[in-house]
């Protein structure tokens, strides 16, 4: 199908972008790998697309133990980045599950975070890594903990005229472990269920495709042994059925991933 009619603007500066993005009917276009399919299927009918690809949100930098990844960094760039492989290996693992090469060449980190598709990989990773989202607007930049940024189904802590500028991920230390696992019908398809797991001073199991937002499995994360974690997972997750999988199947598959992740996290590197 063809997209509906809309106006298009490509701001040259953040200030101009904030002004355009707050107009009624405006939608922000980054890589477009989720927005354009939505336009094609007429699920979205904006009056104005604000193409932010000209903005300077492309850095990957490490400063004082924090890895800052600009919103316009593409999935392919994540895949190729040595800094990310070294300091945020969870993201390097997760990106392999993000769609296919042609889509990874254009889709961006910021787009994935700002859209907050419940089946998407990065939002779950951000919560697992206790990352912060850098939100930029006319009045400056604010940092929001990932856990509070994802508020509901496709609902995030962004006001009109605000953009995701970057994500800030604590660099992974030597004694910390992480693993990303996902089940999908075809490699690169949306997750049936996925798991971003992190183990440092505390442990965090965060599922994608299991609810309206990334779901931190609090009880399972606090469990001391695998059997307890598996049995407590039912308290943490209430996945709703999708077209192909019942809620019971999803919960079963979540347990399968939890077992695999537990084994990986408890094996020394």
């Amino acid at each position: 199908m063809k997209a509906p009619s809309f106006a298009y603007a490509k701001p040259g500066s953040p200030a101009e972008a904030f002004e355009l993005a707050r107009r009624p009917g405006a939608k922000v276009l980054a890589g477009g790998q989720s927005l354009i399919p939505a336009l094609n299927m007429r699920l979205s009918q904006p009056e104005l697309l604000v193409d932010i690809s000209g903005l300077p949100f492309r850095e990957i930098s490490l400063e004082q133990g924090v890895l800052r990844i600009g919103a316009l960094v593409t999935h392919s760039e994540i895949e190729k980045s040595e800094e990310i492989a070294r300091h945020a290996p969870l993201l390097a693992e997760a990106v392999k599950h993000v769609a296919h090469p042609a889509i990874r060449n254009r889709g961006t980190v910021g787009g994935s975070i700002a859209l907050a598709d419940p089946a998407a990989e990065y939002p779950a990773c951000m919560v697992a890594l206790d990352a912060s989202i850098a939100v930029a607007g006319a009045s400056g930049e604010r940092l929001v903990k990932a856990q509070y940024f994802f508020k509901g189904l496709f609902e995030v802590d962004l006001a009109p005229g605000e953009l995701v500028a970057a994500v800030e991920v604590p660099a992974q230390l030597k004694d910390q472990r992480s693993v990303f696992l996902e089940l999908a019908r075809r490699h690169g398809d949306y997750a049936i269920i996925g798991l971003a797991a992190y183990k440092g001073k505390s442990t965090r199991f965060v599922f994608c495709g299991a609810g309206p937002t990334p779901v931190l499995a609090k009880h399972a994360s606090a469990a001391r042994d695998l059997d307890t974690a598996v049995s407590l997972l039912e308290k943490d997750l209430e996945p709703s059925a999708d077209l192909y999988h019942s809620a019971a199947t999803k919960l079963h598959l979540a347990k399968v991933l939890l077992k695999r992740a537990w084994t990986t996290l408890s094996t020394s590197p």
């Binding site: 809309f6 477009g32 193409d51 090469p101 042609a102 889509i103 254009r106 690169g188």
Partner: protein
């Protein structure tokens, strides 16, 4: 309402300027404005891969990019890569191994396969399958396609050709 914008881009080495509607996809622009109908339009929401193009050296979905986003870009299509003979070894291998039947997916499949070959490294069959995982073929069952790509990859990597 007329939202039309002027764009200038390079398509297969030739600079073109046109006035386009922002809603027009890059693949539709190439097919309808420039008559380059080698890139096919299948699902129109990024699933099938039939519209695979190369933009500034990287493969993209032609149905998930607007023509206005390609302003100032270097776009290469199946026609360009075919004319330049870049695809000749793959085309020969696809032909010899019956790696196509109806041919609808073939342009996109060749673009994706060539993208892997350009990395100029030896890859496993599993990696080949991953790299073309975003391209649907409903005729061949993929085996012959993987065979053809593997054959070219082995010849090129062995002979050190880039």
């Amino acid at each position: 309402m007329d939202y039309a914008l002027d764009i200038t881009l390079t398509v297969n080495g030739t600079q073109v300027s046109r006035r386009v509607a922002p809603r027009q996809h890059l693949v539709d622009f190439l097919r309808e404005e420039l008559g380059l109908t080698g890139s096919h339009v299948g699902c129109e929401h990024g699933v099938c891969g039939a519209c695979t193009l190369r933009v500034d050296g990287a493969i993209v979905r032609g149905c998930l990019m607007l023509a206005v986003q390609a302003n100032g870009c270097r776009v290469e299509t199946i026609e360009g890569l075919s004319d330049s003979k870049e695809l000749a070894p793959l085309q020969k291998a696809f032909h010899e191994r019956n790696a196509l039947q109806c041919g609808f997916c073939t342009p996109g499949m060749l673009m994706a396969a060539q993208d892997l070959l350009r990395q100029n490294r030896k890859t496993t069959r599993e990696e080949i399958r991953l790299h073309i995982s975003g391209n649907y073929c409903r005729c061949t069952g993929y085996q012959a396609i993987v065979d053809a790509i593997e054959e070219v990859m082995q010849t090129e990597v062995t002979h050190g050709k880039g």
